[in-house]
């Protein structure tokens, strides 16, 4: 059964302003990091979400995306993952970094980019550690699907988020990172 949905309209949806696009960075040259700064101006949102489609310059099948908050590069983070690797399911942890999601590397097809969704919860609160969860994966030379969570052990409001490749490689051209704000009910 086929439906011609141009007849059904292209708008509607939930309450306007409940989920807003705040910023998008699409790389036109490779970059070692991507930073969303000035997040204090988004304090009328309860949560932030990053949607990305990204690739690392590393000659690997899978890279790891690390997120730091407020420029804190100390070992003040923790993260856990549950990952399906095609023939097995495994769990892992990192008690010093936010290993937030997967990236695809140059051992994969040249037009292949890894998708991911990262939620940062209660980012502007000043009385709780900041927690995240994510879903990301790659389906190419490497095959991984991963559900993760973690925290920044700090009660400060998050004013900036920096994304890097754990191995120090660059994000390549065409990698895209979009930041969204989600309001509380």
């Amino acid at each position: 059964m086929a439906f011609n949905l141009s007849l059904l309209g292209a708008s509607g949806g939930g309450a306007a302003g409940a989920y807003d696009l705040l910023e998008t960075t699409t790389l036109t040259t490779s970059a070692s990091s991507v930073t969303f700064s000035g997040l204090g101006s988004y304090s009328d949102y309860a949560h932030l979400q990053i949607r990305y489609s990204a690739r690392t310059s590393g000659a690997v099948t899978a890279g790891i995306l690390i997120v730091t908050a407020n420029g804190d590069t100390g070992s003040n983070y923790s993260s856990h993952e549950l990952t399906g690797a095609g023939s097995s399911v495994f769990a892992d942890s990192d008690l010093s970094r936010m290993r937030t999601a997967y990236l695809i590397g140059t051992d994969s097809a040249s037009d292949s980019f890894a998708p991911g969704i990262i939620d940062l919860l209660n980012f502007s609160s000043a009385d709780t550690y900041k927690t995240f969860r994510s879903l990301s994966g790659i389906a190419d030379t490497g095959t991984l699907i991963s559900l993760r969570s973690g925290s920044w052990r700090n009660t400060d409001s998050v004013t900036s988020l920096t994304l890097v490749d754990r191995s120090g490689n660059n994000f390549v051209t065409k990698s895209r990172f979009s930041l969204y704000g989600i309001k509380a009910a």
Partner: protein, 158 residues
């Protein structure tokens, strides 16, 4: 400047048993959006077989999933496929939410993430890739859908 998004683009409600459901004209209804989200609410089967732009080429799709069925976990790949099949053993009534990234970009393969949950027997997460840089103009679920099943398609700016 904040841009409200996550807009409903289309709703399909299945009224009689249907084999193959296509949402077309996505280049038109999805104009201006970066990502798509397809939400299936099913009465007795949350399994989907996704095909984009009716491309049935062998090897055009690849995927990997991970599932939990209450007593066991498993992970499977779907290489060299003619469709994206997120779930292998999670079926029954439930919800399947499939995210399509950069669906209109013509310089990337199209990647997908999905999460499914069934009241009958488990939970699933998966990712898939359509090895094609063409803009997505149609999404087809090849599975058999029953009366009462619904699809909602949302657009997300980016």
């Amino acid at each position: 400047m904040a841009t409200p998004t996550y807009d409903l683009l289309a709703t399909v409600t299945i009224t009689t048993t249907t084999s193959g459901t296509t949402i077309s004209n996505i280049d038109t209804i999805g104009a201006g959006y970066r990502d798509l989200v397809l939400v299936l609410s099913s009465t007795d089967n949350c399994v989907v077989y996704i095909r984009l732009n009716s491309d049935s080429t062998v090897g055009a799709y690849s995927s990997v999933n991970a599932e939990g069925t209450g007593s066991a976990t498993s992970s499977n790949t779907g290489p060299n496929s003619t469709r994206f099949t997120p779930t292998s053993s999670v079926y029954g009534g439930g919800t399947n939410i499939i995210q399509f990234f950069d669906f209109s970009q013509t310089d990337k393969h199209k990647s997908m993430l999905s999460r499914a949950g069934s009241s009958a027997n488990g939970v699933n997460m998966a990712t898939g890739r359509w090895a094609n840089t063409a803009a997505v103009t149609s999404i087809t679920d090849l599975s058999t859908r029953n009366a009462g099943d619904t699809f909602h398609l949302y657009g997300i700016a980016g």
